[in-house]
Amino acid sequence: MRNPVIIAAALAPLVIAGCATQPESVPALERARAEVSQAESEPLVQQAAGDSLEDAHEALSAAERRLEAGEELEIVEHYAYLASRHAQIAQARANEAQYREELEKAGERRSELLLQAKEGEVQTAQQAALAATAQAESAEMRASELERQRAELERMQAERTSRGYVLTLADVLFATDETQLQPGANQALARLSDFLQDNPERRVVIEGHTDSRGSDEYNQRLSQERAEAVATALQAQGISTDRIAVRGMGEQYPLATNDTSAGRQQNRRVEIIIPDEQDPRSGRGTGS
């Protein structure tokens, strides 16, 4: 009589063994080993995803244990799969950590550049401000300069006309029918020459005029010579000839009637025109 328990005990291992298959190698497990080994070889992965690596190791050990214990392939592969996924998660987390680090650096670089740009902008703005101030100052100087000139011209009793300022030398400054300037003229001219010396860019047009007594030819020549006399006087006071234009206008432009002696005296004059700066017009005559 055989003991049924002993037989059952003898048969039991066969039943349990029947649930397991034990292949030589499990590809999924080998893959998992390789992935885990790869992941932990990278320092950044260790740093950024240490706990994922631990989980990977745990799963790997479980797979190895189950394999040795002769458990089902399905189970061994399951733990191998988990190990692989843990390793992959570790890699992905490490990648993210690296991108974030570079993102931070790039952000810092951007701030630096923006700061530089801002400083550059500030500098540019400062330079622009300086330039603007300089411009404004010179414009101011210009304006006050013109003001000064105007005052000077008015002190000379030069008249403001559409042609510019006009200084009129009266007949009395010439002896009758003479072309030589009387001494009194020099005082009037002195102020003018001072003005011209102070303002080297200004020039003058000297126009001689006569009354209607005498022929046109005579008056033309007389007016020309009187104008030239004034020009010579100015030159003597240091004004260069290229700043002086001379014209004889004859009897063509009377100021007053030629029927009275007072009127004729008015007409006998020399006009010194100081054209406005950059004014292409220069008195009457052929110019535009």
Binding site: M1, I7, Y81, L103, R109, R110
Partner: protein, 121 residues
Amino acid sequence: MPAFTHLIKLVLPLLAAFALAACATPDAPSQELALANAEIDQALRAGATERAPDTIADARSKMELAQDAVDDGEMEEARRLAQQAQLDARLATAQTNAAESREALAEVNEGLDALRNELNP
């Protein structure tokens, strides 16, 4: 022989009990299923559909298989599938986050290049 028949009758139930004990299954793996679903939801919220489509698809199809296994009474298999799906989802999230960071970095680098060009024409 009657003794043998008696033996079989005695041993077979024992063997059956052993067999059942060896391959016994617990109840449905509700905890594992819940954890897996939670991580899938998280991955989807992170944007895994756009940035880690294959991985999240793995997770979801595994969950379907897990549910089928539960319906078939294969609880151990269901548990394993749920655990795998959970890690699939976790990987999808990690991949999505990495992709987002990479894209953000590319954008900032582009901006940096443009800024550099502006400053040093």
